[in-house]
């Protein structure tokens, strides 16, 4: 159905679940997202890459928690604040992305998705599918989940 033509591509809608790192809006495709959790007991993994925050028990399943702030070179999470886990499915397993807080559900036109601006470092932009301006003028960064967690 989608094949080829610009017209059908124009109608394609990307459904996103958004979340925040600081004031920046990030998003993952709703198909990738499984659920959102807060306030989880984490087991840290000594000697692991700093991009991995720890492990949590999600109904008997061990979920690896990725430190999205570290991966995207933000300062560490604000102290004392409740952290939010966006649980997503990667090709390999179910993992959690640790974020500041969850946002809302948005739908954007596929055509509205722009390549990341060259001001972002190559390492950061390869972890994103693109950026998109939301109705209220804010910029939303759409994550490429597999690339984001590839390190």
């Amino acid at each position: 159905m989608m094949a080829g033509t610009a017209k059908s591509a124009a109608r394609r809608v990307i459904r996103c679940v958004t979340f925040y790192l600081g004031d920046d809006v990030f998003a993952v495709e709703v198909e990738r997202a499984q659920e959102v959790l807060t306030d989880q007991a984490l087991t840290r993994v000594p000697l692991a890459n700093r991009g991995i925050r720890g492990l949590l028990n999600l109904r008997g399943q061990v979920v690896t928690v990725f430190d999205l702030r570290h991966i995207f070179a933000y300062d560490d999470y604000p102290e004392g604040g409740d952290l939010t886990h966006v649980v997503v499915n990667t090709g390999e397993a179910t993992v959690s992305l640790l974020v500041d807080r969850e946002g809302e559900y948005v739908e954007v036109e596929a055509t509205a998705l722009q390549p990341t601006p060259p001001t972002l470092s190559a390492d950061l932009s390869r972890r994103l599918q693109g950026v998109c301006e939301l109705d209220d003028g804010r910029l939303m960064l759409l994550l490429d989940v597999d690339a984001a967690l590839d390190f």
Partner: protein, 768 residues
């Protein structure tokens, strides 16, 4: 049930899920009440429906805002891609499972009712019943995964027959114990390695008919293949009555390939020589036939077996044959493990790897723990075994509560033993092993994760990996251990720290005597110097941003201090926090440009890390710091002594020079043996410190040349190297070196040098 009977099989992944659903029940009684209702229907539908529902994924509880539920809970994309695997399970076993699930539902209903009534005694009773049902269910579900080894063994007669025909030998394959059952995944994991061993036995092991006749053996070669249970392990043995391994040929090959030196090969025990066949790149067949030797070596066999936590051993008798003995666990899904606590974390050590737990208290610690070449060892059952502090190894913060006692878990992998110092041993428990994602497998010291009874995730230690990471190499006897203690030769131990602005720096771990947390309110500024009360005096603090290109620490209440001791003087470096102790394996010379206060820029975890030049930083803050160090006896002797240093690596030249200077020596640094020899001929020196591996002229030749000179006969020569092999040591000794030390170990380096100089001057005084 009907579908099962007609198909006689059930999808493998469903059983996997069934096992994982059971995990929830096993994870703890407290969770049972909530976990069970998701997994079993309230009504009593037909048996097959129940099984299906049990195997279904638990429904997700939380729905995303305005999200499409169907999409969110859609099966992950990797599911279903795998070809449907099947497994044969006796119908009676499935019926048994059905009955136990029925009992589980009943117990759940009772439990809910008792909880509702608040009848504690009845809850307790029902919980015990649940425990009983769960263990039987666990046992039976695991049984569905067990397969007789005959499914693999059955293909070997044909392979052996084909090989015999192609090589013109007569071989019979004798199989025993083929009904022994092993977990299906394990059976799959050992199929290829076992095939390789059988091929090898037929191709290389069994000798040609003529050779057999000459050796007085029957014309028909025999390969024996057997399987048996030994406790929770399965033993598979492959023996042939061929010519046996030609150990001298194996040794010659290993020397030729540069795996060992000729001298080492000479001294090797039989076992060590036999184990050479597991080295990568060693094929001993005179010619690579098209039968075996297809690029798969015994090293691949060994690692495949070790991946499933198994071991492989070889034994051979010249002329009588060779035996391979594989030991693999019965199952990987649920294993008994020892829970230990280290630095506030709980870690599980597989029981199959544990030998014993030893506990020391108070003075006994100092008496039992010895240090050899920088490695701590203890006497255990008549042998010296190395010990490693698990807290330090994992980079965790030591728990002060356990300072006066020491619990050591002695673990083994193959024939290697290692003592792991832990804070506390908690208990043994059967744990459900859950896999790690690739990021964490790469760490190298974890075998998986599990859920504790409190529902928290615990890591499972990979004992073989931990030994590898600590460079505990295979050794057979006490003598071997004493001859060559494991070292961190090429790796540099660094302490990784945060400083201001999220920047990271590293300092050599050996320079740091302790890490302290201080309140900034306690810091006083006196004459431009930062001082903080420390023990009975004041500790001078240095701001890194004053002397190195790092951002200043922003306004804060507390900071951490790296306390360093140089002789009797102390100084503290202010940092944000310690991240980790790391073993840096990269080349230090090729690490980008250094600046003031910086030795090199390293890449650790994909982040740039400045390796601080601690001596330069301290000197920049206080130019007289090292000169003014109060003279202990040792330093007085070193005062004004001239040392000639030969070292090709710029990094180590600088580092060793700094060590020597800090102890009061005058240092003349050279870049290779040739330059050093010229300098020696022209100058007056009291001692020589030389690297062994250098371009132009290495340390061995340099030493020999020096010893030939009249004033070089008695000069103390200390070799420093990252080579730690016996051979290097022996060669260095033969060349005329007085002592041999590993780089970076400043303390021993300096005390050894001081000792050598003292001995030499005493000798001279005595002679005069």
């Amino acid at each position: 049930m009907t579908s099962l009977e007609t198909r006689g099989s059930e999808g493998d992944h469903q059983f996997d899920r069934l096992v994982s659903q059971l995990d929830g029940v096993l994870a703890g009684d407290s969770r049972v009440a909530t976990a069970v209702p998701q997994q079993t229907p309230n009504t009593q539908p037909g048996a097959e429906e129940r099984l299906d529902e049990l195997a279904d994924e638990a429904p997700t509880e939380q729905v995303l805002p305005r999200g499409d539920v169907a999409d969110i809970t859609a099966a992950p994309k990797w599911a279903g891609h795998k070809a449907e695997q099947t497994i044969r399970v006796p119908v009676s076993l499935i019926e048994g499972l059905m009955n136990q699930v029925g009992e589980l539902v009943l117990a759940r209903n009772q439990l809910l009712q008792h909880v509702h009534e608040g009848n504690a005694e009845a809850i307790d009773r029902t919980a015990q019943g649940l425990d009983h049902i769960t263990s039987r269910l666990q046992e039976n579900v695991l049984k569905t995964r067990l397969q007789p080894v005959s499914s693999v063994f059955n293909k070997f007669p044909r392979i052996v027959r084909d090989l015999a025909r192609m090589s013109g030998k007569s071989i019979v394959l004798e199989i025993s114990g083929e009904t022994t059952e092993v977990d299906k995944t394990l059976l799959e994991a050992i199929t290829d390695p076992l095939t390789h061993i059988i091929r090898n036995a037929a191709d290389h092991g069994i000798d040609a008919p003529a050779a057999r006749k000459a050796a007085g053996k029957g014309p028909v070669g025999v390969i024996g293949l057997s399987a048996s249970h030994e406790g929770e392990r399965v033993i598979i043995a492959v023996r042939d009555d061929g010519a046996g391994l030609n150990l001298s040929k194996i040794k010659a090959k290993a020397v030729e390939k540069g795996l060992v030196s000729a001298a080492d090969a000479e001294r090797m025990t039989k076992r060590e020589a036999m184990n050479l066949i597991f080295h990568a790149g060693l094929s001993t067949a005179d010619q690579v036939t098209n039968i075996s030797g297809r690029g798969v070596g015994m090293d691949a066999v060994k690692s495949a077996i070790e991946r499933v936590n198994g071991t492989i051993e070889v034994d051979t008798t010249p002329g009588r044959g060779t035996t391979f003995r594989l030991e693999i666990p019965l199952t990987l899904a649920i294993i008994p493990a020892l829970h230990v606590r280290v630095g506030g974390e709980q870690i599980a050590i597989p029981q199959v790897n544990t030998v014993e737990v030893v506990h020391y208290e108070g003075e006994a610690i100092g008496q039992c723990v010895r240090k050899l070449h920088g490695v701590q060892i203890i006497q255990f059952r008549g042998e010296w075994i190395p010990i490693v502090n698990l807290t330090t190894f994992l980079g965790l913060t030591p728990d002060a509560a356990f300072a006066d006692e020491m619990s050591i878990v002695v673990v083994r992998s193959g024939v290697q033993q290692l003592g792991l110092i832990v804070d506390r041993v908690i208990d043994t428990e059967e744990i459900v092993v859950k896999p790690l994602i690739s990021h964490l497998r790469r760490v190298g010291c974890y075998a998986g994760t599990t859920l504790g009874s409190d529902g928290r995730v615990a890591l499972i230690l990979d004992v073989a990996g931990t030994m590898r990471m600590n460079r505990i190499e295979k050794r057979q006897s006490t003598q071997d251990l004493q001859a060559e203690a494991p070292t961190v030769a090429e790796k540099q131990a660094l302490l990784l720290c945060h400083v201001g602005g999220g920047q990271r720096v590293a300092v050599p771990l050996i320079l740091v005597s302790r890490v302290e947390e201080i309140a900034m309110a306690d810091v006083q500024t006196v004459g431009g110097r930062l001082l903080v009360p420390y023990w009975d005096g004041l500790l001078r603090l240095l701001r890194l941003s004053d002397h190195a290109p790092v951002a200043p620490l922003d306004g804060r209440d507390t900071a951490q201090v790296l306390v360093m001791e140089f002789g009797a003087r102390r100084v503290g470096l202010l940092i944000d926090s310690v991240i980790d102790a790391v073993q840096y394996a990269g080349d230090l010379d090729d690490c980008g440009q250094s600046g003031s206060g910086v030795l090199a820029t390293l890449l650790i975890d994909r982040l740039a890390v400045l390796l601080l030049d601690v001596y330069a930083i301290v000197e920049a803050a206080d130019p007289t710091f090292f000169k003014a160090m109060s003279g202990t006896g040792e330093q007085r002797r070193s005062e004004g002594r001239h040392v000639l240093l030969a070292e090709d690596s710029a990094f180590f030249r600088r580092l060793v020079t700094d060590y020597l200077k800090s102890a009061g020596y005058q240092v003349h640094a050279t870049e290779d043996g040739e330059e050093a020899l010229r300098a020696f001929q022209q100058g007056q020196f009291d001692a020589i410190v030389t690297d062994l591996e250098m371009p132009k002229m290495d340390g061995f030749t340099f030493t020999q040349e020096v010893r030939k000179l009249p004033h070089g006969k008695d000069i103390p020569i200390l070799a420093v190297s990252s080579l730690s092999s016996d051979d290097a040591k022996a060669r260095a000794k033969r060349a005329g070196v007085d002592a041999y030390r590993v780089k970076l170990d400043r303390e021993t380096l300096l005390s050894t040098l001081a000792g050598l100089i003292e001995k030499s001057s005493a000798h001279h005084e005595g002679a005069a």
